[in-house]
């Protein structure tokens, strides 16, 4: 158990670094895009404004491990203030390890779908008719409904 507690505190330290670096407060959301499912990550970005409206926030911090995310953000031409942060997958996983144990913020979203083992989002996508946009709006952002259907773009289709 000690090893696991240490892992949690490592994640807590990473979160503290994020908080200090980006001055995280109640008016900011944090998206962590792991890019295991490009289409999912696309919809996370496309519906970011809906999520921010629900949370009464004004700015977003996007943490990513695949630099293609930067191109996605540019293409979507989001009208909200965004700060970007590149992290390795390993670092993101440590932060998520902490989050999996302790929900330290209600304004952070990770795009893991099969981790940890209780996360059924991946199964939902593979085994039912639920699509990525619904998965994002209902499952990750918890908007209670899917606001609109985004037109597919080339980046999203390259999965």
């Amino acid at each position: 158990m000690l090893k696991e507690i240490i892992a949690v505190f490592q994640g807590a330290l990473l979160w503290t670094i994020v908080q200090m670096r980006f001055r995280i407060n109640e008016k900011k959301v944090v998206l962590v895009l792991v890019n295991h499912r490009k289409r999912l990550d696309y919809y996370v970005l496309a519906h970011l404004e809906d999520f921010m409206k629900r949370k009464y926030t004004k700015e977003a911090v996007i943490v990513f491990s695949d630099k293609e995310v930067c191109s996605q953000i540019r293409r979507l031409k989001l009208s909200i203030p965004i700060r970007r942060c590149y992290w390795t997958e390993d670092k993101i996983k440590k932060l998520y390890r902490y989050y999996s144990f302790y929900k330290f913020s209600d304004k952070i979203v990770f795009t893991y779908t099969d981790y940890p083992k209780e996360n059924q989002l991946g199964r939902l996508l593979r085994e039912t008719s639920i699509g990525e946009e619904e998965a994002v709006c209902l499952g990750l952002y918890r908007l209670r409904r899917v606001p609109w259907i985004c037109p597919d773009n080339d980046a999203a289709n390259k999965n």
Binding site: V8, Q120, L121, L124, S129, G139, L140
Partner: protein, 433 residues
């Protein structure tokens, strides 16, 4: 809320009441939820009656939560809102209080009762969970542990109906089955489920889960639910009732991983003739001429007392003996009916012997669904459960638990509903929706 959290909320509200905090103020609760129902109950023990329940969900507007009308949050847009008190007790308290503030409510008019756990508390809870887990496995052996962390008897019943098939599929011979209430234990005992352990305190289930969240590789624990709020990394609950993911379908697939062709199997009812005979004599009930009313539900909408009273009187006029399934002060008997309380393990047999059952949809309806009796089950048309109506999500027929219930969806406790309910008794096989 867990017992210790509920106790804390109770103490806060009682202390504030003693200090006159609620004097001359209209009280509104924000968010239809189990927390809200519990807070309403506490306020009522202090002789305080909330003026309204607010919710953003349009579908809930016009329905009732513990007998109080649910209204849109925008109804606050009047001049008197600053005299009111708004109680919030939800994990989403931040955006809820932000919404109230955006509507011009001053923070001194908002009472936030939700308490979040700190990281150290979570670690402490995980340690307690480890102790519980170690005690279980040292007593029973290193067996898989199945946990039902809820008090819903309907859920446990549903689990029981698939249990044998699940064990066969997973080739599990031995296990530990944990429940957190006596009612759930009794429900589990209706089935051939072994090694049933009832935790001393409900909160201990959260400790076990916290331990599993910290050390997932070390713990052989499966939560017997499609999604559980404490495990915040699983968002499946937000798809309940969405695109065919109703109660049965979601359980069958995501809890048991069984194919769509798998069917629930009712338990074999034990012989309880002697017990039932004594019960019927004690309460002067008549075999095949007694109506058991079940007007309460922990999770779903209730109907006003007046409606039940009217139905009871009409049934008595027609020669039926009428009882209420009542467990005491918190669930008083309908006026003019006989309060009865019976153990869940003989509930199906008792309903069958009585002959008739009318109830608001609840977990109890699952337990008696296999009884050969006239069953009238009521669903509020506008009561929602996540993405579906309660009827869509919990229909006994839809779940495959029975095909002989008369399931009625109602808008209001009006003449139309009354006639539909009475019609189910007069016309016999008429199925009314």
């Amino acid at each position: 809320m867990f017992d210790y959290k509920l106790e804390r909320v109770e103490k806060i509200l009682e202390r504030l009441h003693r200090k006159g905090f609620f004097n001359h103020r209209k009280i509104f609760l924000f968010g239809v939820s189990e927390n809200t129902r519990q807070i309403i109950r506490i306020l009522r023990t202090c002789s305080l009656e909330p003026s309204g329940v607010l919710d953003n969900d349009k579908i809930k507007h016009g329905t009732y939560c513990s007998g109080i009308l649910v209204e849109p949050v925008e109804h606050l847009a009047d001049g008197k809102k600053q005299e009111n008190l708004y109680i919030v007790c939800s994990p989403y308290w931040k955006e809820m209080t932000a919404q109230l503030r955006a509507l011009g409510i001053h923070k001194k008019n908002i009472l936030m009762l939700y308490q979040e756990e700190t990281l150290l508390e979570c670690i402490r809870h995980a340690k307690r969970g480890r102790k519980i887990y170690q005690d279980l496995t040292s007593g029973y052996g290193n067996l898989p542990v199945f946990l039902c962390p809820y008090t819903g008897t309907g859920d446990v019943y549903l689990i029981g109906t698939f249990w044998k098939q699940y064990l066969e599929k997973m080739q599990i011979k031995d296990y530990i089955f944990i429940v957190i209430s006596k009612a759930c234990e009794k429900t589990a005992r209706l089935f051939p489920i072994k090694n049933i352990v009832r935790l001393d305190k409900k909160v201990e289930s959260s400790y076990l889960i916290r331990y599993a969240m910290l050390c997932p590789e070390k713990v052989r624990l499966k939560i017997l639910n499609d999604s559980w709020g404490q495990v915040h990394t699983n968002p499946l609950e937000w798809f309940r009732g969405y695109k065919g993911l109703e109660f049965m379908q979601i359980f069958r697939k995501f809890v048991f991983d069984l194919p769509d062709t798998a069917r629930p199997e009712h338990p074999v009812f034990q012989n309880a003739d002697k017990e039932l005979e004594e019960f019927f004599q004690k309460y002067h009930l008549q075999e095949k001429n007694t109506v058991i009313l079940s007007p309460y539900s922990n999770t779903l909408a209730d109907l006003p007392d007046k409606f039940w009273g009217k139905v009871a009187e009409a049934l008595k006029d027609r020669g039926f003996v009428v009882c209420t399934n009542s467990c005491g002060d918190t669930e008083p008997a309908v006026m003019g009916t006989i309060p009865v309380f019976f153990s869940l393990d003989i509930a199906p047999q008792l309903i069958e012997k009585a002959g008739y059952f009318i109830g608001i949809r609840s977990g109890f309806c699952d337990i008696i669904s296999g009884s050969a009796a006239k069953k009238v089950i009521l669903y509020h048309a506008r009561e929602r459960f996540f993405n579906g109506s309660t009827f869509e999500y919990f229909s006994l027929k839809g779940m495959g638990l029975c095909n002989d219930a008369v399931e009625i969806v109602f808008e209001n406790a009006d003449k139309e509903l009354y006639e539909k309910v009475m019609g189910a008794f007069v016309s016999g096989d008429v199925q009314l929706l």
